[in-house]
Amino acid sequence: MSELYRQEFDARSGTATADRAEWLEPLRKVAIETFATTGFPIARDEEWRFTPIAPIAHQKWRQAAGNTSAVLPAELEPYLFGHPDWTTLVFIDGAYSEDLSNPGVLNTEGRAGSLSEALQNDDGILERHLARHAPVEANPFTALSTAFIREGGFVHVPVNTDLTRPVHLLYVTTGEAADTVTHPRNLIVVDPGARASIIESYVTLAEGTSYWTNAVTEVWAGANSWIEHTRIQRESERAYHVGLTHVEQERDSHYRSFSMAMGGALARHNLTARLNGENVETLMYGLYLTRGDQVVDNHTAIHHDQPNCRSWEVYKGVLDGRSRAVFNGKVFVKPEAQKTDAKQTNRNLLLSDAAKVDTKPQLEIFADDVKCTHGATVGRLDDVALFYARSRGLPASTAQLLLTYAFAAEVTSEVALEPVREELDRLVRDRLVSL
C-alpha cells in the first residue's frame, strides 16, 4: 500500500502547485523516500504498539477535493469562539478558504495566513523553519506530511511584538471528504520576545463520515517568547486522526500546550518539545474524553537538553463505553541538563467496566542534580467523594456528573486565555451530559 503514496508523489511532482519554493523540493523527496523505505509503522514497533493503525494503512485514501464553496459561514458558527476580532483561518477539507476566513485584528506586523500563499513569496522565514524541525525519519506519518506539504496555517510573530488576539486555525471536514486524506501542515514562528496564542481545531460538519486527517504543526519559540497553543480535536467518531506537534524552544521561552481530544475512531497525537536553551519553561496539559469504541492515543516527549529548565505535564482522561486510551510520556534529561525540574502526571477516570487505559510514563535521566517525578493513575470515581456530595443533598447522578466534571475541569482550568478556557469548559459539559 505504501507504494501508492510514492506513485501519487511522482504524479504530482512537476505539476503547478504552490511549491515554487525550490528549497522545499529536496526535503519532500527525502520525505517520500523515507516513507517508501519504512512504510506505515508495524504492530511490533514500540512507538505504535497500542495504536491500531491498520485501518489507515490498508485503505486507499483519495485526495480531498477541498470544495470551499460547499460550506456556508453560518455552519461554522458553533466552532468559532464568538470573537469576531480574532484571526480565524478556515480550511475546508484541507483547502484554504479566504471567504470563510476572518483576518481579524492583527495589531502588529504579525502574519497569519495560508501556507501555500506564503510559499509564493517567502522572505526566508519558511525556508529556515518549514520542514526543518519535525524529523521525517522519526515518524512515517510526518514523512508523508512533508512529502505532501500543500496547505496549512502559517503564523509569524516578529521580534518583541504581542499578538494580542489569538489566531485560530480551523480545519473543517465535510461530508464530501468521505474516504479522503488531508495533510494539514502548520508553521508557527514566534520570534524573540514575542507573544502569541494559537488555537488549532479539527472539526467535522458530517458526523459519521470516515476520513483521515494527517496533521503536522511545527512551532519555533524564539528566546524569551511566550506561546499558548491549544489543540482541539473534535473529528467525526468514524474518522482517523494522526497529528504531530513539534516545538523547538530557545532560551527563556515559555510554551504552554493544551491538547483536547474527543473525536475520532482512532486519534493519535504526538507532542514533542525540545528545550534548546537555559531557563525554558514547558507546560503540557491534555484532556481526552472518549466513548463507544474510540481509541485516543497521546505520545509526548520533552527533551531537556540544557540546564535550569522546567517542564510540567498533566494529561487526564475520562473514558466511557468500550473506549481505550493510550498515554506515553517521555522525559529525556541530558547529562548537561543539571537542575532540571520535570513533573509528569497522567490520570484516568473510567466510567465503565469495558473502558481500558495503557499508560506509560518514562523518564530517562542522565544528569544527577535534577528533580524529576512522574505518576499515573487509573481508577473510578471515589466512593467517599460521591458520598460527600450526596450527603450535601446532591442526587447520585448529579454527584457523579459533578465529580467527573471536576476531574476534567482541574486541567482545563490551566488554560490561560479565558475565552478558550470557557469554550473547553463548554465542550466538557456538553460531552459529559450526553454520556
Binding site: 458520598f387 460527600y388 450526596r390 450527603s391 450535601r392 446532591l394 442526587p395 476531574f407 482541574e410
Partner: protein, 251 residues
Amino acid sequence: MLEIRGLRASAGDKEILKGIDLTVNAGEVHAVMGPNGSGKSTLAQVLAGHPAYTVTAGHVLYDGNDLLDMDPEVRAQAGVFLAFQYPVEIPGISNAYFLRAAYNEIRKSKGLEEVDSMDFLDLLEEKLRLVEWGPEIMSRAVNSGFSGGEKKRNEILQMAILDPKLAILDETDSGLDIDALRIVAGGVNALRRPDNVTIVVTHYQRLLNYIVPDQVHVLSGGRIVKSGDKGLALELEAKGYEWLEEVGAAS
C-alpha cells in the same frame, strides 16, 4: 426527634455498632465520646448513610420517618447534615459552585425556587462572618489545598448555609488550635435552635468547654456504656477512657 433503637452496623465482616439505643429531643445537644475504635465515627456516618457500612439490625426514626430507608441525599434534603471528620477535597469545583448546587438541591426538594449566584452571595456574606472568613474562600476549589483547620471551618460554613435540623459533627474539633476551635464552636452555638438537634462526636472533653451538651454518652466496643450530663465529660477527662472500658467489660 431522633430515636435510635438496637442499631447494629458492620463494615465488611466486622461488626462495629453492637446495639445502640439513643433518643435526642428537639432543642438538645448530645455529645458522643469514646476511645478510638469505639464506633463513635461509625455511628455518625451510619446516620448520614455512608455506603461503607451495612446496617444489620435496629431502626432509626428521624422526625417520625425511617431514616435508614432514605438515600444519603434524601436525608440531606430532610435536614440531616454530617460534618466530616476528613472533609473531601474536590479540585476543579469552586467552593461557591459546590455550595450553591447543594443549597439549590435542598430548596428544590422543598418545592422552592433555586437561587441565582447573586442572591446566593448575599446569603453567603452573613454565613461567612460566622466562621470569620472573607469571600476569597469561595473561589477556591472545595477543600483543595485547605489546611486541616480550614477544612473544618468549611464544614461549619456548609452547615450554616444548609441549615440542618439534625447536625452531626464527627470529630470536628480534632487537630484544631484554640482559635479554630473557638470559631467552629461559635458556629455550632449560633445554629442551635429549639427545633433542631446537634450530635457532637468527639474524643476530647475540650470541645465541651465551648459547646455545652445536654447529655453525654460514652461509647465503648460499639455500645453506649454510660450516659450522663456534662459532668460525665469532666469525669472522663479526669479518669481516662480505661475506667469506662472496665465498666463496659463488666456490663
